[in-house]
């Protein structure tokens, strides 16, 4: 009786951690620059394909591909930021939306051209496969690993934001951009680095996601929706908010699909709309 419930909770939480990794970068950069970057999940998808290519074509071990997925997503995001994004920081939301939707289209089509539209097969290392039973609850090793990785990354992020000089600059820039400039912080530079880090994390999230949700070119669209839900309910620029929102979203999505499968994602969207109307700045948003 209690077993399935705890199992669903655990699976949902693991899924939520995945969503957290995918969305935390967007949350921070949105909070800082108010730039509507709908291409965020394209960076995640890029990370996923880097892992797939390295593992399947070059035979790299799974773990060795993760840093490269991170770096590749970060590097591409920096190039795009310098060439395209930065010219639109003062443009309207609509222009930002359109530009980044354009990037999503290009990335989806490119992925389909190179890899085809099929799901990419990956063979996870043995020690990450299988599951074990604790007190009647079935725990998949990979999901446990995912939760651990996400928690570690959260700790690193929070500590980095709290205790490093760069973190203080990021917080200042999110809090009040004008004042941060007044204090002599190079907001543009801080933003570029944050943007790269956030996209890198998305790339990492993309790699880690393959084993759970698979990877095909529609990834950039499908998970964009989830990421936007996390960001908008969690509150812009709030790591804690994103964490809680992602966990709740993951649990309710998995639970919803387990208990009322006929409703699909309907419930999730309904909750999101309700949240937005209740508190448009998000659960933990400033205002």
């Amino acid at each position: 009786m209690i077993g399935p419930l705890v199992g669903v909770l655990f699976d949902g939480f693991a899924y939520g951690m995945l969503l957290f990794l995918l969305s935390v970068g967007l949350s921070v950069t949105l909070g800082m620059m108010n730039f509507v970057n709908l291409a965020h999940c394209s960076f995640a998808m890029l990370g996923g394909y880097v892992t797939v290519s390295l593992m399947n074509d070059l035979g790299w071990p799974f773990f060795a591909t993760l840093p490269l997925a991170f770096l590749a997503a970060a590097a591409v995001s920096v190039v795009l930021e310098r060439v395209l994004y930065r010219r639109l920081y003062r443009a309207s939301d609509l222009d930002q939306c359109l530009l980044t939707i354009g990037i999503v289209f290009v990335s989806v089509a490119s992925a389909a051209y190179i890899y085809g539209t099929v799901q990419q097969p990956v063979q996870m290392p043995d020690y990450l496969q299988g599951s074990f039973v604790v007190m009647g609850v079935n725990i998949a090793v990979y999901r446990l690993f995912l939760v651990g990785a996400a928690l570690a990354i959260t700790l690193i992020l929070v500590a980095g934001l709290e205790y490093t000089r760069f973190g203080a600059q990021v917080r200042a820039a999110v809090d009040n951009q004008r004042m941060a400039r007044g204090l002599g912080i190079n907001v543009g530079g801080v933003f570029a680095v944050t943007f790269a880090l956030g996209s890198g994390l998305a790339g990492l999230g993309g790699s880690l996601a393959i084993a759970i949700v698979g990877l095909d070119p529609s990834f950039a669209f499908t998970y964009l929706i989830y990421v936007l839900i996390v960001v908008s309910t969690g509150g812009l620029g709030s790591i804690g908010g994103s964490f809680v929102a992602a966990a709740l979203l993951g649990i309710s999505d998995v639970a919803g699909k387990y208990y009322v499968p006929q409703l699909g994602s309907f419930l999730i969207y309904l909750v999101m709309l309700g949240m937005l109307m209740w508190r448009p700045a998000g659960l933990f948003g400033k205002r």
């Binding site: 359109l98 290009v106 089509a109 994602s265």
Partner: protein
């Protein structure tokens, strides 16, 4: 003391000139009849274009004129489609009443949505319109007993238009019907944007902060135009359902919302003909390149979106207007 202005006819002439029919406009609508003579094999495509242009026009009313971004406008298109389709399936296949009922349903839901929409701007607005679109798509998907779900709505049988004109395979009736509806709605929209209400909408687009400071009830205006726009989108959706005699789940998809946005931006938002021109360019290009895999089509759409945002902020029509102004500046 008040300075009395001399009675001047100039302001009236200036405003009159803005609403006068341009020769190019008349030429455009005459050209819209050409498919009947020259491209008879393309009438089905032509009717798709007219329907899509009507949809783009509906988006232009809120986005181009009032500056309200929507990433979920397909919701109203789809509502119109399903309303018209279901009516016909349930035994009422009369097209014109079906069209009106579909527009009314979409308009009603649009009004309900506008109560929420009018309170938000920026990212929250983008998210809410996106969310509403997705929500409706999911709802239609799960309610397969009503909508047919992913298989689409089967068994839509339309009666002949006006009891006489059957919907033929070649699209003669379809194009005639769609073009007439497009033209009538266009006429009404043209009046609307040149009215005081249209001016107020442009005021909301240009500066939402100033509007209350001059005593303008922005929210009421937004509710009104959103309702009108939803009804027009519903009309377009109903036309598609009636002329193709099917309704697929795709009418509610995010893809459709994004496509219409792309067309409007490509043609030029806030210009009345922008959406129509965008629909023509987009659908003709897609038809000509239909040998392509649709995935690759989106590659070029993406490139084009990026290019328009970076280099052609007012779309094709805006670019043409700029060229003309530059040319005049040179010759003057």
């Amino acid at each position: 003391m008040t300075v009395l202005a001399p009675a001047s006819a100039e302001p009236h002439r200036y405003l009159q000139a803005q609403i006068r029919w341009h020769g190019l406009e008349i030429a455009f609508w005459i050209a819209a009849l050409l498919p009947f003579l020259l491209f008879k094999t393309y009438l089905v495509l032509a009717s798709q274009i007219a329907i899509t242009a009507l949809f783009a026009l509906s988006l232009d009313l809120i986005l181009g004129y009032a500056g309200i971004v929507s990433l979920g406008h397909a919701a109203f298109f789809g509502l119109g489609s399903y309303t018209a389709g279901l009516l016909a399936k349930l035994g009422w296949g009369e097209p014109l009443t079906g069209l009106v009922i579909a527009a009314a349903v979409a308009g009603l839901v649009g009004y309900a949505a506008s109560l929420v929409i009018a309170r938000f701007r920026h990212l929250a607005l983008i998210m809410i319109t996106l969310g509403m679109g997705l929500l409706l798509h999911e709802a239609a998907n799960s309610a397969s007993w009503l909508t047919g779900g992913a298989d689409g709505l089967q068994g839509v049988r339309m009666w002949p238009l006006l009891g006489y004109f059957r919907f033929d395979l070649y699209g003669v009736t379809a194009y005639t019907y769609s073009l007439i509806v497009l033209f009538l709605v266009f006429l009404a929209s043209r009046r609307l944007i040149h009215s005081p209400f249209g001016l107020s909408l442009r005021g909301i687009r240009e500066n939402p902060v100033r509007m209350p400071a001059i005593g303008a009830p922005s929210s009421a205006h937004i509710r009104k135009i959103y309702t009108i726009s939803a009804a027009v989108a519903g009309t377009a959706g109903a036309l598609l359902a009636q002329t193709t005699q099917t309704v697929s789940l795709e009418v509610l998809s995010f893809q459709r919302s994004a496509d219409v946005l792309v067309m409007l931006i490509l043609g030029g938002a806030g210009r009345l003909y922008g959406g129509i021109l965008g629909a023509i360019i987009y659908l003709v290009a897609r038809d000509q390149l239909s040998g392509f895999n649709p995935q690759y089509w989106y590659f070029w759409i993406g490139i084009m979106l990026i290019a328009v945002v970076m280099f052609l902020p007012n779309g094709v029509l805006g670019g043409l207007a700029w060229l003309r102004a530059a040319w005049r500046g040179k010759t003057a």
